[in-house]
Symmetry: C2
Subunit: 392 residues, 2 copies
């Protein structure tokens, strides 16, 4: 199958590109290095050393495996780029990771907030128009986030919920209460994509993904040059990855507030498999379907305790520290999201274990001399400072 | 009260500015003439002759009433403009009409679609940041649209719905199924504003307005120079206004498809009163509330029949014509939205009547020599043409 990977240089985009390439698909990766630039601006970088560009990565891939991955270095905001890649590659499936993926980044200030929404919403609109005009039968596999739902006091369904109300019934989009400007951008995307399916007859699967952890996949392990990025800083680092790194370098585990914040999690190898299952089992024409893509749920404090336990067994002195929460969020809440649709398609989860955490310790130790300590503690605040109070 | 009117040059924005000014409030109107430019590009214009700029209009207002309305000619996409008007005027209430308001405009092509979402979503984000930083106690009265809900098969509530599910219950945002890229932009706004209230503690009232009809208010009637614009073209003209004009000039009434499309409607004088009620009864700090702002619901065919009847009584030969529907929408559907919250605040509706329609005929006849016939029939299609089918 001809598969276009948008955001093919990213933490998940690069391993996904290799995963499909190795399984015999024709893969084309597009990226404009937004994440690399954001890191450069902040003075942070990936723990793992990664090759400097997509062409360098695909060259290494060719040398290791003899397989080709096509490359476009370009921005989804530029219509000419999107139009050209759709015309030339004629994708049958589009896997769309091509967005600014960080909640803290989107909350830094007004500029970062408006950039995040413009970049994500308009980039995705361009993709939808390219599909409508140039690939109306292609299947969009879009990476959403479980964070779109927020933490409602009822069970979360997969995208839609049947509501009985005043003696009538309808199945409607599950209500959304996202917790950051970034998460809002994904909610906007969901509505736009749903519209493109309803009104234009496109087909799409929206993968509302949990927090991904892990550092290696079958393909990254083939050669050090094929490594994917691994972020641990306050902007791009996510909970379990950051905790494992903190354990290795002797930094306290940074639990925000009480740590009762519960989310869905999954191993990076399960992300690749979920995306593959979605691509191989496409939505119908006109269908917009949503899969909740995670395998287990944990509270932040659960995770910190598991890393503490695995670290202690591994011989690391691990301390768990509760920080004042920089975010505005519930620290204790009900959380019970459905996640059966990918299991029904054949997903066999790799669950979190002490062995997995230890293997992350090993992989992190290999590069622990590269850690930049300055950007581990959270500095971004969810509430913008009110200026006029001092001026009046 | 100091009231900032965003989009103060528009069909509703200008009468709202005069309405508040005449009632003793300090009013500042902002506009960058987006609608005037869109008309100029399309070769269309307002039926009513309107003065060429906000300064010209406020000068006439001063001459007629002795009252001042402040003016900023500027774009909400430019942060410096938004920041300056918030710093200098220090609004206590912000009435936000300042968006591209047309569904057909947003569906013309990719450029118009992405412009509409960028303009509306990012402009409103700028307003929210200006509030958070410079006016955290001010009250945002935002014009949304009933079109955000679409036409679900259950009763539509005012913004939120209590859902009982698997033995638990929560009150969550009412699910949205909008029918155009423009309506989607309003859904995105709603999520962003809700977030700003939940997370930043701002206060807002989102007025999900029905289709407004009418040509005169108490203030426009004071002097011909105070007229508001009246659109009848396929892009900016809305159902009843367009039908009344068609009846006057002997053009068939353009019913799209079967005409069973049912929507909420209200008189322009009720819009002004609803906005006033929202401003005078502000939301609490941290509260995001939604009022469904309409007074009656009609199907398109109901409206055409009422105009036919009133026209016949008035001596006009009226023909009702069913056109192939250029939109993708249900032409027969359940529709029962709640609309009690504004009534509870004291709204006394001006319902549609033969007398009202006749008064619109009279007002339209005064300017019927200005009608441009070319742009009455719909040309915008809801489905973009697929290009590759001919190219492959």
């Amino acid at each position: 199958m001809r598969i276009l990977i948008l955001g093919g240089d990213g933490y998940l985009g690069w391993p996904t590109s290799m995963h499909f390439s190795r399984r015999g698909h024709e893969v084309h990766a597009l990226d404009d290095y937004l994440r690399r630039r954001a890191h450069a601006e902040a003075g942070t970088t990936s723990l793992t050393p990664i090759l400097p560009s997509l062409p360098a990565r695909t060259k290494a891939w060719r040398e290791v495996t003899g397989l080709e991955i096509g490359v476009t270095e370009g921005d989804l905001l530029e219509w000419e780029v999107v139009e050209r890649v759709f015309q030339e590659f004629q994708p049958e499936a589009i896997v769309h990771y091509g967005e600014m993926p960080s909640a803290p980044y989107s909350m830094i200030d007004r500029e970062h907030a408006t950039f995040t929404q413009t970049n994500n919403v308009i980039g995705t609109l361009n993709v939808l128009f390219a599909m409508a005009e140039l690939a109306p039968d292609a299947h969009l596999v879009k990476l959403g986030t479980m964070g779109e739902y927020g933490t409602p006091n009822i069970d979360i369904e997969e995208g839609f919920i049947t509501i009985d109300h005043n003696g009538r019934s309808d199945t409607l989009p599950f209500p959304k209460m996202p917790g950051s400007v970034y998460h809002l951008s994904k909610v906007h995307d969901s509505h736009n994509i749903h519209f493109a399916c309803r009104i234009w007859g496109l087909r799409s699967t929206d993968l509302n993904q949990g927090v991904v952890y892990g550092i290696e996949t079958d393909e990254t392990k083939l050669d050090p040059r094929l490594a994917t990025r691994f972020d641990y800083d306050e902007v791009f680092g996510t909970a379990l990855n950051r905790f494992c790194l903190q354990a290795v370098i002797g930094h306290p585990l940074t639990v925000y507030g009480k740590g009762g914040q519960t989310r869905g999690y999954l191993n990076i190898v399960d992300t690749l498999r979920c995306v593959e299952l979605a691509v191989l089992n496409p939505a119908e024409a006109g269908e917009y379907r949503v899969f909740n893509q995670f395998t287990e749920q944990f509270s932040i404090l659960d995770l910190a305790r598991q890393v503490h336990e695995a670290g202690t067994a591994y011989g690391l002195p691990v301390e768990v520290r509760h920080l004042e929460n920089p975010r505005v969020e519930s620290e204790e809440h009900y959380y019970n999201p459905a996640h059966t649709k990918l299991l029904d398609l054949g997903l066999e989860p790799h669950l979190l274990s002490e062995t997995l955490i230890e293997s992350m310790f090993v992989a992190i130790e290999r590069h622990s001399d590269r850690v930049i300590l300055d950007h581990i503690m959270p500095s971004t605040r969810w509430r913008p400072p009110a200026r006029e109070r001092t001026r009046r």
